[in-house]
Symmetry: C2
Subunit: 217 residues, 2 copies
């Protein structure tokens, strides 16, 4: 009985996600769902990417958090329109929450919508939000066994962005190991290595995102 | 309706957790629930603590993972009895899973049972497993805003163990900020700083755990 209920919820979510996707497509807005552990560096990555993409893309952000608005304030500070969703305990965003947040955005004024999901390598995997692209963010300090241990979220991601590469000399993180595990789960997936703090690799990831956005038009 | 169902599930979990606690108490086993993000360094911390506690405590471990048994193999390698639970997608352990795992352990041969929960700062907060002590593990590389952003898990923890302090010189992590946030949520909570790799702070955390275990008898 419980399984049926869960399936029903997921089916309803898929329907709402399809509606979000149709709405974004009609407005010419490319939706990106960014997932990863707490502290993977998602917000810092977005700050770096948006700085790199200035003049090329007009972004907006939906910030998903259990509580508070620290990340949304950071995005606001760099002049990017942002809507905060507080899930009040829920471990992931869902398509219904996104549908509500979309009403608060001027879609005509943007061309890419980045949704920063709740920090979670598990729950976020099961919920389509209506995005066209899903990116999993993993920091070098989290360890190179994460694709093996949390396969669903890596399997569903179009790219894996390895962040905090500036910490590589201080960890035993093996880029080749995690890349091999990820490629087994997502053979078409792209792998990027970024240090948002030092700027390494940001341009490559930004160019790829801009290309993906352009191709979708 | 959905809310009622969720409450029912949590109530059933609480009942099973109470039964686990009674079983562990009767066997003289101190239950510890270790929670934290993926990659916070929970398993590495356990390896360091068990090395420090050799001859003082007889531990066993229950490893909770979505998939795989990497962590359980590491615990087995250091000669500590271990049971692997694969949640197959679920983002937290629950008391029912622990009840099953307890049947696989010789409780008469141990005095502390450490349950390493699924890597998750959200879902694990809501589920009592029957433990006497809950420890939240947070690495310096995750950022010092986590207690603010994920309050429930910090509020319910008897101690916060800050791991990877060897990375402090390479991050902007502010120990005092996170300690203040944590103390606001859990005024009685203890704070430890540990580098499991370099060994700093391991003895203090191990002594505290041994004391807690002794006091419970």
């Amino acid at each position: 009985m419980k399984i049926v209920a869960a399936k029903k919820i997921l089916k309803a979510n898929d329907q709402l996600a399809a509606e979000n996707r149709a709405l974004l497509d009609a407005a010419g807005v490319f939706g990106v769902n960014v997932v990863g552990s707490p502290g993977a560096g998602k917000t810092t990555l977005l700050e770096a990417l948006f700085a790199q993409l200035k003049g090329r893309l007009k972004p907006a952000v939906i910030e998903g958090d259990i509580a508070g608005s620290i990340d949304a304030e950071r995005i606001e500070r760099i002049g990017v329109p942002v809507v905060q969703i507080n899930t009040e305990g829920a471990c992931h965003l869902d398509a219904n929450m996104i549908a509500s947040a979309l009403k608060e955005l001027d879609l005509a004024a943007i061309d890419v919508l980045v949704i920063e999901n709740v920090g979670n390598l598990v729950c976020t995997a099961g919920y389509d939000l209506g995005e066209r692209l899903r990116i999993v963010v993993l920091s070098t300090s989290e360890g190179d066994d994460k694709a093996h241990k949390y396969p669903a979220i890596f399997q569903g991601a179009h790219a894996m962005l390895i962040t905090k590469t500036d910490l590589l000399p201080h960890t035993d993180f093996d880029v080749e190991r995690i890349a091999a595990d990820y490629k087994r789960l997502a053979p078409e997936g792209e792998v990027f290595q970024v240090s948002a703090v030092h700027g390494d690799g940001v341009a490559e990831a930004a160019d790829w995102l801009a290309d993906k956005c352009r191709q979708s038009k």
